[in-house]
């Protein structure tokens, strides 16, 4: 399974989401590759992804995709991440 985290530059916020998503996945016992990327490369990077994690600002730019697009409000809230990832993957 592949999860992509998206932000503007592909470094700051998408990196935080990647790190915290990996922590949550480990706790849930789920095996997935998490890749942080910038919005400019979303088509290429997320072509084979099941889930895209991002903030509300990027939903429109992500556009049509086969992946579930999940909006995260608080990037540090692992409870929010856990609930949303469980709902998408469970």
């Amino acid at each position: 399974m592949k999860i992509v985290t998206i932000c503007g530059a592909g470094i700051g916020s998408s990196g935080i989401l990647k790190v915290n998503a990996e922590r949550v996945l480990r706790k849930l016992g789920l095996d997935a590759t998490v890749v942080a990327a910038d919005i400019g490369s979303v088509r290429e990077v997320a072509a084979d992804a099941q889930v895209i994690l991002t903030s509300a600002e990027f939903v429109e730019a992500i556009g049509k995709t086969f992946a579930d697009v999940i909006i995260i409000q608080n990037f540090f809230d692992t409870t929010e991440l856990t609930e949303k990832l469980e709902a998408a993957l469970g």
Partner: protein
């Protein structure tokens, strides 16, 4: 997994900013005065927000401003600006912002360990409130880097 350098010169306590652009500029200035970025980096961080929206407000009260690695970055580093009066970034959930972090990364691909260290600090949900209330640069350093104090 260690935090990017956060020297005292990159910490501004109780700053006054008229709007989010002024707040991001203060955080960029703090990177510049610490020798981690050139003055143009503030403008790059502002352009990222103008282009993509206020997504840098990644948690209630906290903005993590950054641009891409590029010629305006001199070295990896972090700055912290706390605001006397919170400012709005126009974020749907996490406004108003009381603490602005600016992140400079010299090379792509090497940022994840640094970003993981930032995540470690703020996975403690009290960290933003503690930073907003900090009264000295030393206190900010201790909150951001507890293992070094």
């Amino acid at each position: 997994m260690s935090l990017p350098p956060l020297p005292k010169s990159a910490i501004v306590i109780g700053a006054t900013a008229a709007d989010w652009r002024a707040a991001v500029t203060l955080a960029g200035d703090a990177l510049a005065s610490s020798g981690m970025a050139r003055p143009g980096y503030s403008g790059e961080m502002i352009r990222m927000i103008e282009e993509h929206g206020p997504y840098v407000v990644i948690a209630p009260g906290l903005a993590l401003a950054h641009a891409r690695p590029g010629p305006d970055v001199i070295a990896d580093g972090l700055s912290v600006v706390t605001l006397a009066e919170p400012v709005s970034f126009g974020h749907p959930y996490n406004d108003p912002v009381r603490v602005v972090l600016a992140l400079a990364m010299a090379t792509p691909g090497e940022h994840l360990a640094a970003v993981a260290a930032v995540a470690n600090v703020f996975n403690d949900s009290d960290a933003i409130t503690e930073l907003a209330g900090a009264t000295s640069a030393e206190e900010v350093q201790r909150i951001m880097n507890p293992q070094n104090s």
